[in-house]
Every structure is written in C-alpha cells, then in structure tokens.
C-alpha cells in the first residue's frame, strides 16, 4: 500500500509542480498585460483590457473536467500524447493561467499607487515601473498566491485520473471508491492533506522572509 501511495504521490507532485511552474509564468505575463491596459494602468486601453478580461472570465468559468476533455486534441499536439501524467499538465496549465492572472493582478493592484507615481515623477519608464517597482513591491503577495495556485492545482490534478493522469486522486477513486479499499482512500486523503499543509507552510515562510 505504501508503495502505491508513494507512486501516486510522485505522479501528483510531478503534475502539480510543472503545472504550477508553467501557469505561474503564463499567468504572470497575462497579469502584466491586464495591469498595463487596465482602467488605472500605465497604458489604459479599454478595448484590449475588456477582451483580455472576457477571455480570462470565460476560461475560468469552464468546469475543469469539460476543459480537460475539450482540450484533448490540443494536448496531443503540445505534449505528443493525450493520456498520462505529462498530458495532464497541459489542461492543468491552461485552466490555471487565467486563475493565476487574476491572483497576480490582485497582488499588483495592491501596490500603493503613490509609489508608482513617485517612480513616474523621477522619470522611470513603464517597464521599470512594472518590474522594479510593482512586481518588486508585490513579490511577497505573489509568492502567497503561487501557494494558493499550487493548492488549487492539487485539487484539479485529482481529476486528471480521468485522462489517465494517475496521482493520489486517481488512487483514492480507483482503489478506495471502486474497490472499497477504505485504507487506500484514507491514506490518499491523508497524504493530500499533508501536501497542502507543506505548500502553505512553505508559502508563508517565504512570504515572511520577503516582506
């Protein structure tokens, strides 16, 4: 049983790690665009902002199960395969990018507009303001949000079993639910709880250090 749990754990961590990594990068980039073009942004572009905003909302309103299945052709092109842990990273990332974009947008919006204005007042460029002022000031809060993202992805990854992604979710479902193995079910849940705790504690630690 321990072996099964460890195997499932490593599959889960593999999916969550890479999906978090890729969606952090993607979500961060998208958030920069949202912030730049937003109503109080450095380069307000109501049209572009409204479009990005709509896409983000649309993607976020898809139930993950449906998104995962709808993305199968896309997944096959990107990952080369449509099933398995590696393939699961693709829909996980796609689902998490708009989520992360919103979280990072929120973090960046929390930066004191006065500090941004001060930077403008001595001639900083938009790029310098975004990266050297806003991102820098918002970093602790962004780190906390990466932890939130990773935990959400942990939840989503449990559904990746549907496309053969494996992991703790699949183990709990296949062994615990279908085969009535209560010990497997409890074990998988316990390990999941542990992983969530670890991620949150790491996030908080880094947050405290950065602040």
């Amino acid at each position: 049983m321990l072996e099964a749990l460890l195997g499932a754990l490593s599959e889960t961590l593999y999916m969550v790690f890479f999906a978090t990594l890729f969606s952090s990068i993607g979500g961060f980039g998208l958030a920069i665009f949202l912030i730049l073009t937003g109503p109080h942004g450095l380069r307000p572009r109501p049209g572009i902002y409204a479009a990005l905003d709509a896409v983000v909302n649309l993607l976020r309103s898809f139930p993950f199960m449906i998104l995962m299945i709808a993305l199968i052709p896309f997944t096959r092109t990107v990952a080369g395969v449509a099933y398995g842990s590696t393939a699961a990273i693709v829909p996980l990332t796609v689902a998490a990018i708009p989520f992360m974009a919103r979280l990072v947008e929120g973090s960046l919006l929390e930066v004191d507009p006065g500090v941004v204005e001060a930077a403008r007042s001595f001639g900083a460029s938009d790029g310098q303001i975004i990266f050297q002022v806003m991102v820098r000031e918002a970093m602790p809060s962004i780190v906390l949000n990466v932890a939130v993202l990773a935990i959400a992805l942990l939840g989503y990854s449990a559904m990746a079993g549907a496309i053969g992604g494996g992991g703790l979710g699949a183990l709990a479902y296949n062994e615990g639910y279908i085969r009535f193995r209560a010990d497997m079910m409890l074990g998988a849940v316990a390990v999941l709880i542990l992983v969530v705790q670890c991620i949150q504690i790491c996030g908080n630690r880094i947050y405290k250090k950065l602040r």
Partner: protein, 337 residues
C-alpha cells in the same frame, strides 16, 4: 521657471482648474494653498506631466509640458523632484536603496544584475558614483546612520527625509511638494520646513509647496496662490496677502471664531510697526481702554509680524476710526460673527 497661462483642466466634464495664470520665479518658494479638493495636487501634477490638461499652457523651464514626447517628458521629470504626503517610499527597500532608485533608473543597463554588469565591465564606476551620491544626500538630510534601515521602521519625519533625499538624487532644478508635512506632527513639520528652506537657500532650488496648512505657507513661502474650487482667488507675496485687509478672505478666519459682539477691529502689524506699542498709545491718546479679544504674532518667513483684535464700544467708534486714519495704521473692521 514655471509659466502658467490660462490653464484649464477637466475630469470628464467636471472643471478642476479654471483659467489659472501665474508664474514661479527661479529660486523662490511658491505656495499653493486651498481647501481639500481645490485642485492643488492636480495643478502640481500638470507641472511634471503626471496629469494632462485640456487648454492653456504650462511652460516649465521653457518647455511646454503638453507637447513633450515620452523621452523629453522623462528628461523634464529628471529635472523636477517630487515629495508626497504619504512619502511613497518602497517599503521592501532600505533607506539607501530608496534614495538610490532614481539614480539606478537613469543608469545605463540598470536592469542587468550587478554581477552580470561587473562581468561585462560596465557600471563599476556608476556604482561607485551612486554610492557616493546617496551618502552625500543622506548626510544632507541627516539619515546617514540609518542607511541600512528598512523604511517601515522609520518615523514619519524620517520617511519624509528619505523622500526629500530621493527627490534630490538627480539634482533637480525644481522640487514639487504635495502636502509634504500634512501627515506629520507640528514639531516634525517645523523640522521638515527648515530642511526645505535650507535646501532652497543652499542649492537655489525652486520649490512649489502645495498645502492646506496656512501655517506652512506663512512660514516658508515667498509668494503664494490661493486656490478655491479650481480658481485662483489671490496671488501675491505671502506677507502682503496675510497683512492686507481681506487679503486671505475667509481662509485665514479660524483665529477669530469666537469674538464678542459689538465692533471688532483687526489691527495689522507689518514689519515697520510691529514692535511699537500701538494699542497702548491709542488708549493713552484717546483716554479710552479696549479689551484685546484676539490676535496672533507669527513668523512670516523670518520676521515676527501679526495682528491684534480689539473690541470697541459703539459710542467710541468714530473717535477710534478717526485715530486709526490719522495715524495711517493698517486695520479692518470685522463682520459680526
């Protein structure tokens, strides 16, 4: 230094600045006073292009702000420092890094990490120069020993000193101050005003001081503009405005909120007669006595000046008016409260 002609600004359809015209001379401390919402901050932001304006002209050091392209506007901003009510420092950086930030912004290749620049052999001398400049500024504002302190751990006055050092980092010609002392206690306010005066005197820096605090303009401004709902109500030398009858209108009225009924006369003491015992002489000459019911002796820049309010009984009014006219004193009768 700054020339404003018929400046008009709207937020949507709401007029915020209505047809302002005035100029700020090199080396002077120019005040803009008015109540909250009068448009002071907006006016200040038109000077360095943080806010656009719809019509009229704002020329700063000979350049029309609205017509500057991106790069030119940045260069203009390099020549103008700005300090803020809430200091607007970067909380995650220490004192040194906050002051160094404008310098880094204007360095070449500031985005490359220090190690990379060192490897490529660029920025070594710039780093040394930045260090020297920051230390010079921190000495000036008296925070050299706090250079590694995080700004979160500083007091309000210290934060504003960091703000001032940062604003001076690029050697600006003009310093814009937006309610720089409004978040500070009275003692600290005086220290910061002193520092601003020293900076003005030593570097011949032009200061534009925006505030709702009368005390501040009285103490340091050479000239001032009184702003009310976006319109310029008064413009002139601080002393003249505060000492001329009705000069500051209802804006300087807080001092006599509770005067006794009857006729109250405000006697003004400009420089030349401030130290004469005017009231005592009048009482003696007329054989009358008047209660002094209000007044203030104040610092206008570096002179003690002020006014006293006396209460005069109806029946003696004509005698008193006659005496005041004859002696050529500056005075005004106050409306009944």
């Amino acid at each position: 230094m700054i020339e404003v002609r018929n400046l008009v600004k709207f937020y949507q359809s709401e007029p915020v600045l209505r047809d302002l015209s005035f100029s700020v001379a090199p080396g002077e401390i120019f005040g803009v006073v008015g109540q909250s919402g009068a448009g002071k901050s907006t006016l200040l932001r038109c000077f360095n292009g943080l806010e656009p304006y719809q019509s009229g002209s704002v020329q700063v050091m000979g350049r029309e702000v609205a017509r500057l392209r991106d790069k030119e506007l940045k260069e203009l901003r390099r020549d103008m420092g700005m300090i803020f009510q809430n200091f607007c420092l970067m909380n995650r950086k220490n004192v040194f890094e906050n002051v160094a930030f404008p310098l880094r912004v204007w360095e070449s290749h500031p985005a490359l990490p220090k190690r990379v620049r060192r490897f490529l052999g660029i920025g070594e001398t710039a780093d040394a120069r930045t260090r020297a400049r920051v230390m010079e500024l921190l000495e000036l504002v008296g925070l050299a020993d706090k250079r590694f302190e995080r700004v979160q751990n500083l007091s309000g006055g210290q934060k504003q000193r960091v703000g001032i050092a940062r604003a001076l980092a690029l050697n600006p010609k003009i310093l814009l101050c937006d309610e720089a002392t409004s978040a500070l206690d009275p003692g600290t306010t005086l220290d910061i005003l002193q520092l601003l005066q020293d900076i003005n005197a030593h570097f011949r820096l032009t200061l534009v001081v925006v505030t709702h605090q009368m005390e501040v303009v009285k103490r340091i401004c050479h000239r001032l503009l009184l702003l009310d709902k976006g319109a310029g109500l008064r413009l002139g030398r601080t002393e003249d405005l505060f000492l001329s009858p009705g000069g500051m209108g209802r804006f300087a009225d807080e001092e006599y909120a509770r005067l006794p009924s009857g006729v109250n006369i405000r006697l003004l003491f400009p420089r030349e007669i401030a130290r004469q015992a005017v009231i005592a002489a009048m009482a003696r000459d007329l054989g009358l006595s008047f209660p002094i019911v209000g007044g203030k002796l104040e610092h206008y820049i570096d002179d003690v000046l002020g006014f006293l309010i006396i209460n005069v009984p109806e029946e003696n009014l004509d005698t008193v008016y006659g005496y005041l006219r004859e002696k050529n004193l500056r005075w005004e009768a106050l409306d009944d409260a």
